[in-house]
């Protein structure tokens, strides 16, 4: 049996562990203890240490576990290291149910939690302010169970880079001056006992944010164990808050019920009322309505059941005097939430194609044959569904009203749904794409594919070819 001193932490332990492993000393022959006896091996320096390849996950685990105050941690880590390197158990780290690993993971968890609690429960006090620079200096006292000051310090550096601060603990202290973190030995007593001026406000906040009608003391103690309370300025309120809660709730129940007060004379409340009143939209739309009035009226359309599961009606968008009108199928997931046509992936593709065809989107009127998003849930997404003939027909009066208002020179129909809606009959797009003869709709009518068709093509070569054809179709509008 050998007695070795693991030193201060991970670095010193690693050095010795490497040497022991190099010498082939099995775990059961090592006694890890801070030795002060006669035969204490000096901090090993005489022997060259060997470098070992161990999984990165082990180093990470060991860095945490060595911070723990559990005396057996050194031996436990060496045992795991031995098993990984000499025992042929390279996969040991993935076996969370192995007794050694379960123990190590538990220590690791304790350390991680203690670091987290340090980040949560350190309470700074303002010490002074530099009169020239205005820079403030803060200090805190914290009593951790484990050796976590070094591991916990970078968080404070990042968060409070522009103030000076010190955190004092019995297990080491850390100081920041705006440039450098320095670590000093632990001290036994709190050097900053005087309360901070803001503590009174913090206690007021704590008292006021507590809801006496929902007492869950166990939950609180689980997350904020009692051992931290003595350094938390708010904690001595807990007893009183719990004790008076029952009475406070009883008093609430005994209060007389308050009658309603009349609404103040406020224009905004009047407007809300008007917005909330469900107006019949007038279907089919009144031909005398302006474009803006049509858009407003369509918001409450119930001509088909699609409105029920959609966020809202997505009406057309673009200048009243647009020379070109484009009709797509229906809003998709993105258009539905944005309330605007062609803003999703298909819209982006359309934008690119329009630009390539020399058309400026802002001068066009864009709309859809069907104005509500039709979808079914699939996992976490809303999967687009093609509208059926009934839904297309129900929405036709809206799109025809838009057409009448815009009266474009050129009408571009994207895909079969738009064709079905405006031409009033099923049309095969791939067979009939290009210029159509339909003078009652517009001087020039172009039929082409819907951009979402291009998005769905799996083969890149075919996609590129189809995209060129799509752009060529759009160009027919510009001549």
């Amino acid at each position: 049996m050998r007695s070795v001193d693991p030193g201060e932490g991970f670095t010193s332990w690693r050095e010795i562990a490497r040497r022991m492993l190099g010498e082939g000393v099995p775990p059961q022959e090592i006694l890890w203890e801070a030795e002060r006896g006669l035969f204490a091996p000096s901090r090993v320096r005489e022997m060259p240490t060997m470098k070992l390849k161990v999984p990165a996950a082990f180093v990470e685990l060991a860095q945490s576990v060595t911070c723990h105050s559990e005396p057996s941690r050194w031996a436990l880590l060496y045992q795991i290291l031995w098993r990984i390197t000499r025992g042929g158990e390279r996969h040991l780290l993935t076996i969370a149910s192995d007794p050694d690993m379960a123990k190590a993971r538990m220590l690791e968890k304790n350390v991680r939690r203690e670091i987290h609690k340090m980040h949560a429960f350190v309470r700074f006090k303002l010490i002074d302010t530099n009169v020239e620079t205005g820079r403030e200096r803060y200090a805190a006292w914290f009593e951790p169970d484990h050796f976590i000051v070094e591991a916990g310090a970078p968080f404070f550096k990042k968060r409070f880079a522009n103030m000076d601060w010190s955190i004092f603990t019995p297990k080491g202290c850390v100081h920041w001056n705006g440039e450098l973190l320095t670590f000093t030995a632990g001290i036994p007593n709190n050097p900053v006992e005087n309360p901070d001026a803001l503590e009174a406000a913090w206690r007021t906040y704590y008292r006021s944010i507590f809801n006496p009608a929902r007492l869950k003391v166990k939950m609180m103690k689980q997350e904020m164990p009692k051992r931290y309370w003595k350094n938390l300025p708010e904690a001595d309120l807990i007893g009183e808050l719990i004790e008076t809660s029952r009475e406070r709730v009883k008093a609430m129940h005994e209060e007389t019920l308050r009658p309603e007060k009349p609404a103040p004379n406020n224009a905004y409340l009047g407007k809300l009322k008007e917005m909330s009143a469900v107006k019949p939209c007038g279907y089919p739309p009144d031909p005398a309505l302006s474009l803006a009035e049509l858009a407003a009226a369509s918001a409450t359309c119930r001509a088909c059941p699609l409105w029920e599961h959609a966020t809202g009606t997505v009406f057309g968008e673009g200048p009243r005097n647009a020379r070109i009108m484009i009709v797509g199928e229906q809003p998709g997931d993105r258009e539905d939430v944005a309330g605007k046509p062609f803003v999703g992936p298909a819209g982006k593709l359309l934008d690119a194609a329009l630009a390539e065809a020399g058309l400026d989107r802002t001068t066009l009127y864009l709309t859809n044959a069907v104005k509500h998003f039709k979808w079914i849930p699939k996992g976490k997404i809303r999967l687009h569904q093609k509208p059926d003939a009934g839904e297309i027909d129900a929405c036709r009066p809206w799109v025809l009203s838009e057409l009448k208002q815009i009266a474009p020179d050129v009408l571009i129909l994207l895909g079969a749904t738009a064709a079905r809606s405006l031409l009033g009959k099923p049309v095969q797009v791939t067979k009939n794409r290009g210029l159509m003869e339909s003078p009652e709709l517009a001087g020039r009518v172009i039929l082409t594919v819907h951009p979402s068709y291009l998005l769905r093509l799996p083969d890149p070569a075919m996609k590129a070819a189809e995209y060129s054809k799509f752009v060529a179709d759009l160009k027919l509008a510009g001549i």
Binding site: H91, S97, R159, S208, F210, N211, R214, L215, M275, T311
Partner: protein, 407 residues
């Protein structure tokens, strides 16, 4: 009115909002800046109140004056509660003072509606703008927004905040009409939709390598449980819709809480805390365990079993699917075993490549054997078919009857 009184009124006015998350923000810190603050990673709860809720953010109202009349709310216009208002400067200073002492992760600012939605929204935004632009504050900011505020203002709020939220409050318009007559589900949904669209756009720009995008990373909402007659199925269906359509980070379920200013329209009741808890569990099952609402609740049983957690209740209704073999079952199947969480399922999947899993392995993973044993086969355990079929199985999981007190 002195500062302390104002603080107590405006914190008291804010405490019915359950949201406390300070996680999920874009990573950032004060190095190289001139102020304080950092975000990113998991949130930190700096304290806990005896109501079991974490205190992570300074959660206050800018003012508790309100022209709305929501009957569950202490701040409604019909309430006789004492009114107060902070100035933007006061909130900014308090946030920084608390933050520098490491009391909080940041600010959660809401407000009663004064004058109109835009006016109120502008006041709230001014606080966030001052924190960000004047003080280079890089901590967490959550802003409550008003669906009727103009989209430009909601966008501005999202640029200064890490998270924004609109509270739905109640799951149906019918309930809102009675209890919160100024509110509209349709308008709330449309505002959430526009917010999601902007969140998506910001996310796309960020993923495209634009590091300078300053925009919130998520939105959340809150519903009040137990104030109206809505069933748990109503709540979960609504949540399902909100998660799906608007990609909410969280739906908070807040048990309707007695307030010192009870309304004639909505007399006080004890808060349904266990129901709130069950709804959270069911919500989790939908989001992380692959359950559909229709599996958790049916038209015949539209409310969750208060005595058993919803996964266990589901397993007891679907005993034909059990027992499953811990060694061979797929991840999806293991996730449905009562007593196994996401973490342990993933560990089991790793471990079983190397070893036959036994009950002792599960104990070391801190799995509750009482819970899993009837449903899970291991190398050394084959659950009794008799128990799985018997009526006693449900009884085994019911909470222990409270011993009667003498006298």
């Amino acid at each position: 009115m002195d500062h302390d009184t104002k603080l107590s009124i405006l914190a008291d006015a804010a405490k019915y909002d359950a949201s406390c998350a300070s996680s999920g923000a874009v990573r950032g810190n004060s190095l190289g800046g001139k102020g304080v603050g950092s975000t990113g990673g998991s949130g930190i709860c700096h304290s806990y109140a005896p109501d079991g809720r974490c205190i992570s953010l300074l959660k206050i109202l800018l003012t508790n004056v309100c022209i709305y009349d929501c009957h569950y709310c202490i701040n409604r216009r019909s309430s006789n509660v004492r009114r107060a208002a902070f100035t933007a400067e006061e909130v900014v200073k308090l946030t920084l003072d608390f933050y520098k002492r490491n009391y909080i992760e940041g600010l959660f600012l809401s407000s009663g509606i004064i004058r109109n939605a835009d006016y109120t929204m502008e006041l709230v935004i001014a606080v966030a703008r001052t924190l960000r632009e004047v003080h280079d504050f890089r901590g967490y900011i959550h802003l409550k927004t008003i669906p009727e505020a103009s989209p430009e203002l909601i966008e501005a709020a999202a640029r200064y905040a890490d998270r924004i939220s609109i509270n739905l409050e109640l799951p149906t318009q019918k309930s809102l009409d009675v209890l919160a007559p100024e509110k509209s589900i349709v308008r709330t949904k449309q505002a959430m939709g526009r917010i999601r669209h902007k969140l998506d756009e910001a996310g796309e720009r960020r993923r495209g390598g634009d590091k300078k995008v300053r925009h919130a990373t998520g939105q959340s909402t809150q519903v009040i449980v137990g104030a109206d007659t809505s069933t748990d199925a109503d709540f979960l269906a609504r949540s399902d819709e909100l998660y799906g359509a608007f990609k909410l980070r969280r739906v908070y379920y807040s048990a309707f809480s007695p307030i010192p200013e009870p309304s004639r329209i909505l007399p006080l009741k004890a808060p349904p805390l266990i129901r709130e808890h069950r709804l959270y569990q069911a919500d989790w099952l939908m989001r992380f365990y692959g359950f559909k609402t229709s599996e958790i609740l049916t038209p015949e049983t539209p409310n969750l079993d208060l005595q058993l957690d919803p996964k266990l209740a589901w397993a007891l209704r679907n005993r034909q699917d059990f027992p499953v073999d811990v060694q061979t079952a797929s991840r999806d199947v293991l996730l449905r075993v009562p007593g196994l969480g996401v973490r342990n399922v993933d560990r089991i999947i790793q471990i079983r490549r190397f070893t036959r899993i036994r009950l002792t392995d599960l104990v070391r993973l801190r799995v509750s054997l009482t819970k899993v044993q009837p449903f899970l086969m291991t190398a050394d355990h084959n659950p009794s078919a008799y128990l799985l079929d018997s009526d006693a199985l449900r009884a085994r999981f019911l909470p222990k009857p409270q011993q009667l007190e003498l006298f």
